[in-house]
Symmetry: C2
Subunit: 501 residues, 2 copies
């Protein structure tokens, strides 16, 4: 392990007072801090603890959709595991939706031009059920919400088929609205149902579920994903002209909401315990597969970071708080509950990270902060060089569960992982332990542990980013008992109050 | 297209009498014969006819398991298509099994060590049904039939889980017996059911069906494949020790046998019409997916070869017979019916090929014949060079539907295709049109057309191979009205009679 760090000569020790000098703030790690890197990176790469935890979570507990027994088991497992690791942990209540999958099948009906056959479908989370005998309707294909709008009345009584051309992971953002919002728009236009081509970068007849959200006031309709293969078939048959009719049977249900929890853990800072570095992941998964990449990998990375940080003597300067969010997949209730419960603390959240792009190898570091952040962070990246992750990458750090922290201008950081194959398995039965490479997971865990330490330890702080354009009008932030960071934008945080939680 | 052939200077014209000289027999194609290459390879590569036919067969007709309406539709389609192509065609009766899939699901039951969850399974063709409530039993894992035998009584009442480590296409042969014979052996030992890890080179939660055969006198048990992912889970849970219990529900049924057909077509030889070059593929598929690779690709290759050969003037020297076999997948009834119906003709089958390894690009040519075959064939391979298929590859040509021709010592030839990804989709819902590359299909079709022409046209004949060790005692073959091929083994064919059908 030491060879990983040997190439990095220790810089002169920087001062570590409560009010560091400008020079100290910009300096890289001291020799002592680099020894912490050895004690974080080394065990993360060699002990296999994150992998063992991922095995427990996926093979042992399995699927854990919000509201399910699996989710509750995961909560108890996480709490127990933090305690076993010597990390203080507690539960924070979250009310979550409880959607359950039922029977699901679909059938292409025989026409003069082709013989009927089953289609491989999977209900989208939030879908309505069909009557027991299903719905039967002609299929109309669209490849964008604009195209759907242009169809007007021709959508009435039809099954809207959302087609697209997703090929690589980077396409997800372009097409995700077809799944997330498409069915609601179709319902509003009078459609009987919706089929969405799976958002996938590969398929061996593998339907991908995911959340679909019906706008307030819109009555949900049955909405399912269809495999890439069957989407291709529908597309070709429709392109030839002539009607294509499908029968869709979905038995899913929206049950009463359930009491659940975020699992929160903390390693208290030695010097500025009131400053919080949040590292998160989401504990819930879809009900298919075992959420090994999404987001078991993120969960065990941040848990392992906490375990290793809790063993450091001295403890890092600031407090590291781990949040395992509940209900990222179909509601973000955990994220909202956290932001609400900790509203008063948000101005003291000095950095936040969510790991939620799978267990691939680390590629580098991302930031979302005000001016000067790369200059502040770059000197601390040397321990990541041998992990091939020692650079700051373009693009902004963030995460769905961190979105409620954006109005509070919480600076964000992240370890970007290789997600090029993530959407092969995302939201499918195939998101299982065998898809995660132990070596990649260990490397990303090491990078997460070190970057968390960096944020908790470095003398300087990331400048808070500008408020987003859509943020509500902001009140002046409370003083955090430290001088303003140079180059910070005009002070301002979300609509939050100062208090020590 | 001509550029494909331009690099090949036409050799001196060889004689083409009924009794070619030894030198003529060993010569390559004449200029006129090379012009036939242009007329075969060119259209195969440019007209897209095989692809269009594959679209009709897969998108239009879809799955076509023996005994199903889809199979019957495929028979009528093939007959119609041959006629539309100007190729004489007819049906030959075959009685086929009629196994149908029903409900199928399995569940890992919760234990102290892990939470239960659904398992992704697919009944094997030939499986028995479970009672409606399913069977519930402890799982015992074996990785070979020897291991199963060694378990003795410990199999009684259990679900035998056949595990293996298939990684690449070449592994299929090593492990196929676990699926084909394993459940029968388990049944004989008193097992309640069988689960077989899918025979796959990739998986995105993709179960692979396939045939399992219960020995005479053994009562069939429920037998299903399980995805690679869930097989891995079972393997890991069993490796940790402690019981693993599974509930398996299968609603499959063996219905009464059905009258079906081989589809046979012929392009009559100009000079030796009694000598038959058989080119085959199988028209049936599994009931999942649309059999695009298995064996839609083979079907359209040989159909296209026939269409192009039927347009040749002059016609090839010998008769080319296309056989689209029914019931390769779960019975070989078509293959047996053909061999039986044409027993008298088999000694006049001078070469036979079955294309049944998917629609990948051509890699080269394979043979199964007596001495001197490569020397005879090699001079004819120049038109395949630009297709990267102009070499004779090691390994023997053959095919499941050709196995009943082996005792008759029919020489075999084949175009080997790239099957490295064939077992990603083999016998799955994912064996669909989108998995076939039009360019690869066109190239292999071109190679098939040319090699068929070669076998039908070259002055010499492949020497008949030795009888297999297990062949019944052989009677002397009828004279075929031509001098024995030099270097031929002692004359002898299967237990067949001579007659012109």
């Amino acid at each position: 392990m030491f060879s990983l760090l040997a190439a990095t000569p220790a810089p002169k020790a920087s001062t570590a007072s409560n009010v560091p000098s400008q020079a100290a703030k910009m300096a890289g790690p001291t020799a002592a801090q680099l020894q912490a890197a050895e004690r974080l990176v080394g065990p993360a790469l060699t002990e296999g603890h994150a992998w063992a935890r991922l095995t427990e979570l996926t093979d042992g507990i399995g699927p854990r959709l919000s509201g399910s027994e699996g989710a509750e088991a995961a909560v108890q497992w996480a709490l127990r595991s933090f305690k076993a690791d010597g990390v203080k942990a507690w539960l924070e209540p979250v009310k979550v939706p409880h959607w359950v999958r039922g029977e699901e099948r679909a059938e292409l009906l025989t026409s003069e031009r082709f013989r009927g056959r089953p289609l491989q479908v999977m209900a989208l989370g939030g879908s309505a059920a069909t009557p027991p005998e299903g719905i039967t309707a002609e299929v109309v294909e669209v490849s964008s919400l604009e195209e759907l709008a242009a169809l007007g009345d021709r959508v009435k009584g039809r099954i809207v088929f959302f087609s697209h051309d997703m090929k690589v992971a980077e396409d997800y953002g372009r097409f995700a609205a077809l799944r997330g919002r498409g069915p609601s728009v179709a319902a509003k236009a009078g459609a009987a149902g919706a089929l969405v081509r799976s958002l996938a970068t590969a398929s061996l007849s593998t339907p991908h579920t995911g959340s679909t959200r019906f706008e307030d006031g819109v009555t949900p309709i049955p909405a399912a994903s269809v495999t890439v293969e069957d989407a291709g078939l529908l597309h070709r048959l429709l392109a030839e002209g002539g009607p294509v009719r499908v029968r869709l049977v979905l038995g899913c249900k929206e049950l009463p909401e359930v009491d659940s929890f975020n699992v929160v853990a903390e390693v208290r800072g030695r010097e500025r315990p009131g400053e919080i570095v949040l590292i998160g992941a989401h504990l819930d998964s879809w009900d298919v597969g075992t959420g090994a990449h999404d987001d078991g990998a993120g969960v065990v990375m941040v848990m392992e970071a906490a375990r290793l940080l809790a063993r450091q003597k001295p403890a890092p300067r600031r407090t590291v708080r781990v949040v395992l969010f509940m209900n990222e997949e179909n509601g973000l209730r955990g994220a909202r509950a956290y932001a609400q419960a900790h509203a008063a603390e948000l101005p003291r959240h000095v950095a936040a990270m969510e790991m939620d792009s799978g267990g691939g190898r680390p590629l580098g570091v991302q930031l979302r902060a005000g001016e000067g952040a790369p200059e502040l962070v770059r000197p601390w990246l040397s321990p990541l060089v041998a992990l091939s992750a020692g650079t700051i990458l373009p693009g902004e750090a963030g995460g769905a569960d961190l979105s409620p922290l954006v109005p509070a201008r919480v600076p964000m950081f992240g370890v970007r992982t290789d997600a090029s194959r993530y959407f092969d398995v995302h939201h499918t039965h195939a998101d299982t332990l065998d898809k995660v490479e132990p070596e990649a997971l260990a490397k990303s865990t090491a990078a997460v542990a070190w970057m968390t330490y960096v944020m908790a330890e470095m003398p300087g702080l990331l400048v808070r980013p500008s408020a987003p354009p859509t943020a509500p009008s902001l009140t002046a932030p409370p003083s955090l008992g430290r001088p303003p960071v140079p180059g910070a934008p005009p002070a301002g945080a979300g609509n939050v109050k100062s208090s020590d939680r």
